[in-house]
Symmetry: C2
Subunit: 562 residues, 2 copies
């Protein structure tokens, strides 16, 4: 949301945009007519056959956009991602943007929308922020169909001997609804099912979302769905979707959703928006199929991962890239001077004041993420998303700080100027890619124990002194090894606000210990979630939800998305 | 589902169909390019501006397809509806079919699909039976967003003073899930909301579905949403969506869904499929907007209403037609000899045996529905949906029975022969329409009391001796009159299997009393539901759900929809 007078709001800019018909965007990518399924005039699904047709074509270069630890000051990672894609087009490079799909929960709750900002937005912004092409609804439905099949299985005799106290599959809605976090279902007598504790997650936290985003094709989707562990039986052995016989139905419910969605930016740069798992309970990246298709269609792919580099980029580089055989060529680390000042101790209402000292203190947060990317061996560029309140002294300090350390830095103005505001960033990325210094490798050996993997992430990425495992987690380490689940990658569930597991510790905390409370097997997704602190998998609505300002204007346009 | 060897299954026929591109179907209806929003190549949404553009064009003639009371033998009402539309095209008439959207609940549960059958199907059958264009998902989301806003309102201080024991708004899923019928939500402590009893309905039972289907335009949709009563406050006064400030957001969530969906039949007859409220708790007809648009686009509209004439047709003629200012020109009453024999006392496994005596006994069910339509003053044709097991003697008896009474009857073979099998029916309909004997009028005066309206329906449509009101219903009659709700039409919730409120009484029961247990205000939809017997608004899954046979074949086609 912007309240600055001379600027238009994001939704005003988006609604005034002159979009090209989606078949024009598609034909610029040499997508064939039969591969394009239009959803209205400005959105389309792309057939999975695109991947087959272009199998032998070399992949475009993948650029990952990540950020420092988020603060209430905002970083604008999505805006930079969109702006960078536009910037590549400005300098004559064929780039495709690959983003996550927004969830209605935050849209109706706090945010009112998520599709970049200013003159670096994907459009049609209204559609993208509402039901889009229905992918999240398909995932919600598959999630809840599975839940209904589990409870029906128990009601109809429980052949598999499911222990109703040990059902780990939760229902979901794509909304913020705290009242559904903990519920009791099956009440009302023998005709209404078996009473038990249950709970709802937001759809983006469903394992089906993670499965959907890591699947490489329809067959792999079905395989992954089959492996999902939904419960444990009376002998404490895992009960899977395969045992329930539900994998075919879930695949059927997801078959159209699995096709990536093509839209455009305000400057007609193609953007594929597909899948959007939570970056805490899951891996926080758009779908593997979308990223791979973008790499077949473009010479450069600009994609992002959720939250800061300690969460999204770590998971992109350790989970998604490894699983999918994707090699990122460069990383953009987005920061704002405002946010760095918050990491340096400034309160939110003081951010407009020049404060070079606080900025200097806050640089340690950026420094840690730089070190993380160096550990992965991927070249990087620091992108400072410029705000009008940034002073010359602050900017000069920052440029000097980067120069002293040999870090490539670019000031971007993509919010205000669109692609033109990111040309410098795009050119610097081309330079770092051309240097050929990329030695990308995941940070841990997949064959290492779960404990070792967690320790590697905590120490090398978070800068933790040590990792402690709560008794429950200790027990699970043994149990999971017994099930053969210890050779999977680890998906850390940690606060996004701090490098540590304490959201109040900004900057670069040191001398801290990460406590792993519990492990959660996401066998379909193919990772083990390590829970640190309390992770909410169902957000609540604020006192004044964004929904209360929403409406449809007389001309049919959306009101209250921003 | 058919197991007869020489025939293909419905899904096989549908998947082998050669469809026309949807823009071809649209241009045959003179729909302009900007009015068509394609969803893939074979589905499209139609802009509401079509209604404005054709405002002064005379409406096509509306033909309602209804049936005798359903039995496990099956009647094929949707198949006759689709076949009749095709038949009109065979004889050179411009007809548009208007149908309800299937719900995923029954699809995943018992039925495996609902889009006509044999050579009288709407296609793409797979899409129609799965997520289609997402309308039901939009309705589910709007329903649950409202629920989340109610619970959030209470959690954040409960300014409106909502009595948590008197929240009547339930959550929903578009699935059969008995374990959600009665639940307790808001457990887990003060951060997780206020504990209270709740329950989930299937989406088609949501009042938002009924509102959606009765709205005449976007502004009317918002008005109706505003009026929905979600709870009562501490003074027992109704709390509405308007008071919560949620009408704009709900309208926004529904704005694209409100556009009717265009598809085609196997013979390329245009079909508009839009909205699908339950025919018990709601009025069981497709959307008013779809019916009106079909009437603008075609010279004849073939539409259907849920269950038998005692439920669907009664509600079409007393609620939908009155509310929307629609005048039906003729009604088709669908029956099968098999089903009439069941009404005459034959068990399901004996239906293949010739039994003219049972048929004769069963005719009284058809006779009652004929009398109902005569009471409404609408011309009708009896359509016998022919089965291979029907014997010559049975057919002869039936034709003779109709001839003796002066009823027009047509034997249709639309399942096997498509439109050609319904040409006789189409021609007979044209004849009864041309006779100009239509004196259609609703059965009751809208100004009559709720009690009088209910009595009129029970006596004139069901043939009941009397109506009894349980104490709760009596109390509500007074309360509703006090709120000014007594001038609304009545939507009866009654078993579909019998003319009475006892599902075991087939044929034409007499000397029975209808007991109204409770009333339910659907103020947004604009009717008062009168509950007789126990109405399930959330179905359960059977022992072997259809879902367990579903899959995606290697070529990407759906398996297990039939």
């Amino acid at each position: 949301m912007t309240t600055t007078v001379p600027f238009q709001s994001d939704i005003e800019i988006a609604q005034e945009a002159s979009m090209k018909r989606i078949h024009e965007i598609a034909s610029a990518l040499d997508i064939q007519e039969e591969e394009l399924e239009p959803y209205g005039h400005y959105k389309a699904k792309l057939s999975l056959s695109v991947l087959e047709r272009l199998q032998s074509k070399p992949d475009g270069k993948i650029i990952l956009v990540t950020a420092i630890n988020p603060t209430p000051a905002g970083e604008g990672k999505s805006t930079v991602t969109v702006g960078l894609g536009q910037a590549f087009h400005k300098i004559g490079k064929k780039a495709v943007i690959a983003l996550r799909e927004p969830s209605l929960g935050p849209t109706m709750g706090m945010k009112g929308g998520a599709a970049g900002g200013g003159y670096s937005q994907v459009v049609p912004m209204e559609d993208i922020n509402l039901h889009f092409t229905g992918d999240l609804h398909a995932i919600t439905t598959a999630n809840n169909a599975l839940a209904a099949l589990i409870d029906n299985h128990i009601q109809q005799g429980n052949e598999l001997g499911i222990d109703v106290r040990k059902i780990v599959w939760k229902r979901c809605v794509d909304l913020n609804d705290r009242a559904l976090r903990k519920v009791v279902i099956g009440l009302g007598g023998p005709m209404q099912g078996v009473p038990r504790e249950d709970g709802f997650d937001i759809t983006v936290a469903s394992e089906i979302m993670a499965v959907f985003c890591l699947a490489t094709d329809m067959a792999d989707l079905k395989q992954r769905l089959s492996r999902i562990v939904v419960a444990y039986d009376m002998q404490n052995k895992p009960v899977t979707v395969e045992a329930l016989g539900a994998a075919g139905a879930l695949t059927l419910l997801l078959k159209d959703a699995l096709k990536p969605n093509l839209v455009q930016t305000l400057e007609h740069t193609p953007a594929i928006i597909h899948g959007g798992p939570f970056a805490n309970i899951a891996h926080g990246c758009n779908s593997v199929i979308a990223t791979k298709m973008a790499a077949k269609l473009g010479d450069y792919v600009v994609t992002e991962a959720g939250f800061g580099a300690d969460l999204g980029a770590e998971k992109f580089l350790n989970i998604k890239a490894r699983t999918a055989g994707i090699k990122p060529e460069a990383v953009v680390i987005v920061a704002t001077i405002r946010a760095l000042k918050m990491h340096g101790g400034v309160a939110k209402d003081q951010l407009k004041e020049e404060n070079v000292e606080a900025l200097e203190n806050g640089m340690e947060n950026l420094q840690k993420h730089v070190e993380t990317l160096q550990a992965f061996g991927v070249p990087f560029v620091v992108a400072i998303n410029r705000f009008v309140t940034d002073t010359e002294a602050e900017v000069a300090f920052l440029e000097n700080w980067c120069a002293e350390r040999g870090y490539t830095v670019s000031l971007t103005e993509v919010w205000e100027k669109g692609g033109q505001g990111g040309v410098d960033l795009a050119e610097k990325l081309l330079q770092v890619i051309e240097q050929g210094t990329n030695t990308y490798a995941p940070l841990y050996d997949i064959e290492a124990s779960l404990e070792e993997k967690i320790r590697t992430i905590a120490q090398k990425v978070y800068g933790a002194k040590d990792v402690e495992f709560a008794p429950q987690a200790r027990k699970q380490l043994l149990q999971f090894a017994g099930e053969g689940w210890d050779k999977l990658p680890v998906c850390m569930a940690k606060t996004q606000y701090s490098l540590s597991d304490d959201p109040s510790k900004l900057g670069r905390p040191s001398d801290f210990v990460i406590t792993v409370r519990e492990l959660k097997p996401s066998i379909g997704a193919g990772f083990i979630v390590a829970l640190t602190g309390t992770m909410l998998t169902m957000p609540g609505l604020p006192k004044k939800p964004a929904a209360l300002n929403m409406d449809v204007a007389a001309d049919g346009k959306a009101v209250g998305l921003f």
